[in-house]
Symmetry: C2
Subunit: 134 residues, 2 copies
DNA sequence: GACTTCCTCCGACGCATGTAGTAGGTCTGG
DNA sequence: CCAGACCTACTACATGCGTCGGAGGAAGTC
């Protein structure tokens, strides 16, 4: 049982992603977005998901208008970091190397990203090794 | 509900990882390894996990000796790919760039890995863009 | 003022998963 | 042959999560 920080199910994550993509939204708006994305769930399902996210502190709501408006309290980056860390730990005892190598091998990138990557690698190369706080 | 290929829980994955790390093993050996790693579960728990993994086709067992010996039918790489793909989809609609960039930014690498990375990037840079089969 | 519409609250259900107990078989040392 | 150790099969149970239905309140519409 590792330190499971931002723990949520896939449906919950998808709802959170909606908020990242579209900004603050009501249940109905989130639902609309989910429908547009091909996920056909009931209104109350979206509502439950949002409510659970709020219980976990990942979103917050405020009722200014007729309906509650929900907004993310958790950034996409934080979740990414957390999930990556989990993956790393579960599969490679925390070593990031194999993962990156595989990502680069199997995925594709825009030339901008490649350029960016190159710069980062060069920087890495020059720098002394950091030790992870973990 | 994306094409959830290699679907298993964390405990199951940990058991599978044991098989990757230690090679084919009996329930007792897996259990020992889990205990060594600080996960104190009962014998039957390990057994259940292995059984479920087998039902899903991720490991297979054969009884040559006194006890069943389990071995992975699924490589670490395949699971990695699958999980990464899920992450990518869930967080970035499939774009790999942001993920890699963040990985490189937040994790650390051995000089060998950096070198390897450099080579891969260079190769990427020269090549025409691949289109993902998926 | 009754109808329709939308919203929130609460309860519920089924399946996956983590965890484990128990019954009953087998082997091995005395 | 009997006890202790070890193995497998089966059952069970709590929790998390995805999914919703229904009750009941607020708001605009004739």
């Amino acid at each position: 049982m590792a330190a499971r920080q931002y723990d949520m199910g896939n449906a919950e994550l998808e709802v959170l992603k909606t908020l990242w993509d579209k900004g603050p939204a009501t249940v109905r708006q989130v639902l609309k977005h989910l429908h547009d994305g091909g996920r056909h769930v009931a209104y109350t399902t979206a509502q439950t998901l949002l409510t659970r996210l709020e219980q976990k502190g990942f979103v917050k709501s405020d009722k200014s208008d007729l309906a509650f408006v929900y907004r993310a309290r958790l950034s996409r980056d934080r979740v990414t970091r957390s999930r990556l860390r989990t993956l790393l730990t579960q599969l490679y005892d925390g070593a990031a190397g194999p993962l990156v190598l595989q990502l680069i091998r199997t995925e594709e990138f825009t030339s901008d990203e490649i350029e960016e990557l190159q710069k980062m690698i060069e920087r890495l190369d020059g720098q002394p090794k950091r030790r992870k706080s973990q």
